[in-house]
């Protein structure tokens, strides 16, 4: 009987690498572990998982599971757990797992600990370390009961080695009729992007209102990001103006980034935006207003017209 069951996230083409980090926690917890893949036509995905040291890869493959509807996925997870008898149900912190795992925990009547960054032995049992108070403190949490649902912060655990002997792939039969039907899939919007994930990128180039429109934004901010192999960010104003999609927003009400290099194009530096970049290592700001408040925060502040400077910058980086 497996000790742990790890939920694997994928985008129907391939495995999301970050979701493999939860496997490392399963290894640290000890005992055997199984991987669970849910979806439709996921053969390629499941076969890419066989050498990660699991006892088996469980595959729930059914047309009814083609889209990640939380009520159905949670039911499948709960059934798989009951069948395998796993004590730990693991996933990596993401919107996918935030949507699905709490429901599974409820169905299993199990406690849940999110954002685990480490485990420790305490008084003969395991305690989980998780950040609280916006990361300024850590809490050690102990849970009661037989089973528990855990999510991990990907950055806190290594990617597991993929050098084990191949394990079997086990089909998990799903009775589509018995699955809940409370949610309906309407549509999926995907951004095809080769750029790295905003919160994990080493370089982030981001733009503000002076970029004017979507095309200019893509040409200058996107162009510079591509030249540097970085990700794209935007201010709230740029997002409001429709220059960039919502998930590019950086700041108090958006994402928080901490790259090695942050390049701010036409960003004045409202405190709400700075809240999202203050832990960046080097901040370069290009702005035509020498009094822009961001000059207080920037490591390097270049006064000038970004319409002239940025194309030159892209050009010279490309040539180098």
């Amino acid at each position: 009987m497996a000790e742990s069951l790890v939920l694997i996230e994928h985008d129907r083409q391939q495995v999301k690498r970050s979701s493999l980090h939860a496997i490392t926690l399963a290894q640290q917890l000890g005992g055997e572990y199984e991987l669970l893949v849910i979806g439709h036509v996921v053969n390629k995905i499941s076969s890419s998982l066989v050498s990660l040291g699991a006892t088996s890869v469980i595959v729930a493959d059914d047309p009814a599971l083609a889209e990640p509807l939380a009520d159905r996925y949670a039911t499948v997870i709960a059934e798989a757990v009951r069948k395998s008898g796993a004590k730990n149900i693991l996933g990596t912190s993401s919107t996918f797992s935030k949507d699905i795992l709490p429901r599974a925990a409820a169905l299993l009547d199990a406690p849940m600990v999110t954002d685990v960054v480490a485990i420790e032995q305490m008084d003969g049992s395991i305690s989980y370390r998780r950040p609280i108070n916006a990361g300024s403190m850590f809490a050690k949490v102990k849970v009661e009961g037989e089973r528990r649902v855990l999510t991990v912060r990907a950055a806190a655990f290594e990617t597991p080695a993929a050098n084990a002997a191949p394990c079997p792939i086990v089909r998990f039969d799903v009775d589509a009729e018995s699955l809940p039907n409370g949610m309906r899939f309407i549509s999926r919007e995907e951004r095809k992007s080769d750029r790295p994930d905003l919160t994990e990128a080493r370089v982030v180039v981001s733009g503000g209102r002076p970029l004017k429109d979507k095309e200019t934004f893509e040409r200058l901010v996107g162009g510079l990001a591509d030249a540097l192999g970085g990700a794209i960010g935007a201010t709230r104003a740029a997002v409001d103006a429709g220059m960039a999609p919502n998930d590019y927003q950086i700041g108090q009400t958006g994402k928080v980034v901490a790259p090695e290099l942050y390049i701010a194009l036409g960003i004045s530096g409202a405190i709400q935006h700075l809240a999202g970049i203050k832990d960046s290592r080097i901040i370069v700001a290009i702005n035509k207003d020498p009094d822009a408040p961001i000059c207080q925060t920037a490591t390097y502040f270049l006064v000038g017209d970004l319409y002239q400077i940025v194309p030159q910058l892209i050009e010279s980086i490309r040539r180098a």
């Binding site: 403190m137 209102r209 104003a237 409202a270 405190i271 207080q296």
Partner: protein, 662 residues
């Protein structure tokens, strides 16, 4: 010649003694219904926590004079205000007059004759007309000019119908009485309306018929009076009783001050704030019944104006309905998003004619949400950072003086004999835009030779955002820490460029033993200009307008100093926005909203920017770092606003120093 001294009227002349008995029984019964209904409401109020009422009778008298008798909050240039004045004055005068008549008739001394009687008749007729006109205007307004914020039920037509019928039958009774008692024209003219009816309509009717008609009209009028008494507690008419009660009973306290939670009580009950209706105090429950749904709070509310799910009126009415049906859990009727939408700008509180404390109601329910851990996202993070880093921005408090680099700002340590403590505030310490305001303020104080110091890293958040959001524990923790620091540094006078720090230091720290002479930087700068220690060279010719911060202007009444600093009085290019001074409009940042996510269409700052732009101003001056942040953002996002400079008054004044010294 008419004999004026003998001029008088009959009172119950046409009414047989048995009819009088029936009349008195009927009136007594209707009053009994009235009392019973009011007592049944009072029964609901007393389910609340004990206390909450103002105890000083002098405050009651003063408030009743100003807000009940003189109706200070009702007066406005609107149809609603006019018709209320007519209805109210008519109602009061007619009630007093009828009571006087009863006293004269039943009392030992009959004074109802002579000149007194004639003036009485004239007065009653004039106010009778006012009353009827008021009724008709009210009907017209409800039928054709009803603003969306005005509460309306079918029963309102019934109420107005009763009032109008009372007025009409009153005059009918008067005219018929004049006719059948054959009053001489010289005296009858004083009862002007009745006399006109008599002259024009009743001349052909014989005395006996008139007497019968009078009896019928009299009974009609009497029954309506009885119906009216019994109707008072129904619906919005109840405010004639509950309004004055709430006006007198609301506790006296500066507008921007929230009531501290008593920690011992919290330990005993385990409750923070209001979860069940009975967690409100009795005065608050009474206040729910004093609302007559005039909608003025809603008209003034920035949350309502930007389409957020909050109307202060709806909060009051929803709670009242909950009370009526015997409900308990306030969150069943008031959604969390409604409570979070409030900017605590106090505009509703300022408008309410019967002194309802909407912000206190909302604050009490927010405290419960915080107690239940219902807040998440950026505002929760701001609270966590106030707790962990002593400022809502999550910066290290050791960097608190970064803004002062190169300015050689004296600290309480380096200059212990300072006169003024400059309380910088978190925004001006950490927000790069507001840091410039701190620098400008310091430069001005230095130019003027003011002996001041800052606390540096000993300064921490006053706790204002925590208290407004509902985290009273965190606020009290901050307050105690800061009061300790200020006492240790022997601070007497404080000046601060932040209206929120100003309000909290001035009005809320006394609750925790901190008594200081607190000034907003506008008043100190205005004084320094006044005595000539700073120059004000006048404007550069650009049209300029001023956005009054709520917690400076509305809440603390300070509107002159900001204008003096920007030189409003002698600048022909100075423009005033429609909503200005104490009647200013929020920027959207108050009540912790600074840290909430808002859809672009719901930003108050955009509405306010449009208002400022409409004045033609090229410079928008303000006096609050949060207003500065919000209005900069609002202007940037508004068509035509890109070129408007948003500045603090200290920056405006500093620019005028430089020009003068050049």
């Amino acid at each position: 010649m008419t004999d004026i001294n003998n001029a008088t009227r009959e009172v119950f002349g046409n009414i047989a003694p048995w009819m009088r008995v029936v009349f008195f029984i009927m009136i007594a019964a209707s009053i009994a219904v009235l009392v019973w209904q009011v007592v049944s409401r009072a029964w609901l109020w007393q389910k609340g926590r004990q206390g909450g009422f103002e105890r000083d009778w002098r405050v009651w008298v003063q408030r009743l004079a100003v807000y009940a008798a003189a109706q200070k909050r009702v007066h406005k240039k609107t149809l609603g205000a006019l018709l209320h004045l007519l209805l109210f004055s008519g109602f009061v005068v007619l009630t007093i007059g009828t009571t006087l008549l009863a006293i004269a008739d039943d009392g030992p001394y009959y004074f109802h004759h002579g000149w007194y009687y004639l003036i009485y008749e004239l007065t009653m007729d004039i106010f009778g007309v006012a009353f009827i006109v008021g009724c008709l205007l009210a009907m017209y307004r409800r039928a054709f000019k009803r603003k969306p914020s005005l509460g309306h039920n079918r029963s309102d037509w019934w109420l107005l119908g009763v009032l109008l019928s009372l007025g009409i039958t009153g005059f009918a009774v008067e005219a018929l009485r004049l006719h059948y008692t054959q009053v001489q024209p010289g005296l009858a003219r004083w009862s002007i309306v009745g006399w006109l009816i008599e002259v024009n309509l009743l001349r052909g009717i014989d005395v006996a018929t008139a007497q019968t008609m009078h009896l019928a009209a009299w009974w009609g009028h009497a029954i309506l009076v009885a119906v009216f008494f019994a109707t008072i507690p129904v619906d919005r008419f109840l405010h004639v009783i509950t309004g004055p009660l709430n006006i007198a009973g609301r506790p006296e306290r500066p507008m921007g001050t929230l009531v501290p939670l008593n920690m011992e009580e919290v330990e005993q009950t385990g409750r923070t704030g209001v979860h069940r209706l009975a967690d409100f105090n009795r005065q608050q429950l009474l206040s729910l019944d004093s609302c007559m749904e005039c909608g003025r709070c809603e008209d003034a509310c920035p949350a309502t104006a930007t389409g957020k799910p909050l109307s202060p009126k709806a909060v009051v009415i929803d709670l009242r309905n909950l009370m009526s049906i015997g409900g308990e859990d306030v969150h069943r009727t008031i959604r969390d998003e409604t409570l979070w939408a409030c900017t605590m700008c106090q505009a509703c509180v300022q408008e309410c004619p019967v002194l309802i404390g909407h912000v206190d109601l909302i604050s009490d329910m927010r405290r419960d949400l915080i107690g239940q851990g219902k807040l998440s996202g950026p505002p929760a993070k701001a609270l966590q950072q106030i707790a962990s880093q002593s400022n809502p921005y999550g910066r290290s408090n050791a960097e608190r003086l970064a803004w002062a680099e190169g300015l050689e700002v004296p600290t309480a340590e380096s200059n212990p004999s300072f006169e003024y403590l400059l309380w910088v505030g978190c925004a001006a310490s950490f927000d790069p835009r507001a840091q410039k305001v701190a620098r400008a303020t310091v430069q001005l104080l230095k130019n003027a030779g003011v002996n001041f110091a800052v606390l540096g890293k000993e300064e921490t958040c006053t706790g204002d955002p925590a208290r407004r959001i509902g985290d009273e524990f965190l606020f009290q923790q901050r307050a105690h820490t800061n009061v300790d620091t200020l006492t240790r540094r022997n601070v007497k006078k404080i000046v601060t460029p932040c209206p929120h720090c100003y309000n909290t230091l001035k009005n809320e720290y006394p609750q925790f033993g901190g008594q200081y002479e607190v000034q907003h930087h506008s008043t100190l700068l205005a004084e320094l200009v006044e005595v000539g220690r700073l120059s004000n060279s006048g404007s550069n010719g650009d049209p300029i307008t001023l956005h009054d911060p709520c917690y400076l202007a509305r809440v603390n009444g300070e509107v002159d100093a900001t204008r003096a600093v920007v030189g409003a009085t002698n600048d022909p290019q100075y423009r005033e926005m429609p909503r200005c001074g104490k009647k200013t409009f929020c920027c959207g940042a108050g009540g912790g909203r600074m840290w909430f996510e808002e859809a672009p269409s719901q930003r108050v700052s955009v509405l306010r920017s449009q208002e400022a732009l409409a004045t033609g101003a090229r410079t928008l001056a303000t006096a609050c770092p949060f207003c500065l942040n919000m209005m900069t953002d609002g202007m940037a996002g508004t068509q035509g606003g890109e070129n408007v400079k948003v500045l603090d008054i200290a920056e405006v004044l500093l620019s005028r120093q430089t020009r003068a010294s050049r």
